[in-house]
């Protein structure tokens, strides 16, 4: 929804290239999660973040709580990276996380 804005909404990458996805938050956010939804619809956990940075293989994610945004960097994109990436923000009131609208990523050979 509007509380979590993801950009871009869609992205096409050549295999082997790099890119970054972004989420901006208009709610006070304490933790952020990034998910990848594959073509079958399963939501896979990528990162769970408190303010700071995490890295896992070709993926790196940063959550900046002061400036209310999070980024997901994809390095050396592979075909299997294709899918829809979602970020979800949880506020300090412990309500259920709010999701962005997603970024549909297509990696082409």
């Amino acid at each position: 929804g509007d509380q979590v804005k993801q950009s871009p909404s869609a992205l096409s990458l050549q295999e082997g290239t790099n890119s970054a996805l972004r989420c901006n938050f208009s709610i006070a956010t304490t933790t952020v999660q990034w998910f990848l939804q594959n073509p079958r619809g399963s939501l896979m956990n990528l990162f769970y973040l408190v303010p700071g940075t995490k890295e896992n293989g070709r993926l790196k994610s940063t959550f900046n709580s002061k400036e209310s945004y999070s980024t997901l960097h994809i390095r050396d994109a592979q075909l299997e990276d294709s899918g829809t990436y979602f970020c979800a923000a949880r506020g300090n009131n412990n309500n259920a996380p709010r999701f962005g609208a997603g970024t549909k990523l297509t990696v082409k050979p």
């Binding site: 999660q33 619809g41 399963s42 999701f99 997603g102």
Partner: protein, 114 residues
């Protein structure tokens, strides 16, 4: 290997019928959630249960009702389905609060209302 299980995977029904979806988690979490994902892939929170108590009840039609027998189960009943209820319903679980509240999702139940 999924630890959040949903049944059925897919359900087709007629307008006005009642449906019930099941969700079970084996992660020992104390909080469970139901999300609705529409045709545009927007994920909206519907309900959340913490230790069998409703803690979030977003503005959803009254024909939707969550049902929980224990903290490992959270079912969703829809009484008298409408065409706009066609969507994917995703169940998730987590611990409550702190910095251990990572959500884990089930594979979803796809509902088609004819």
């Amino acid at each position: 290997e999924t630890a959040v299980f949903q049944t059925p995977n897919y359900h087709v029904t007629q307008v006005g019928n009642e449906v019930s979806f099941n969700c079970k988690q084996t992660l020992g979490h104390d909080t469970m959630y139901w999300y609705k994902q529409d045709s545009k892939k927007l994920l909206k929170i519907m309900f959340s249960y913490n230790n069998k108590q409703l803690i979030v009840n977003e503005t959803v039609p009254r024909r939707f009702s969550p049902q929980s027998s224990d903290k490992a189960h959270l079912n969703l009943r829809i009484k008298s389905v409408e065409p706009e209820d066609s969507a994917v319903y995703l169940c998730a679980s987590s611990y409550w609060g702190g910095h251990q509240d990572t959500q884990y999702f089930g594979p979803g139940t796809r509902l088609l209302v004819l």
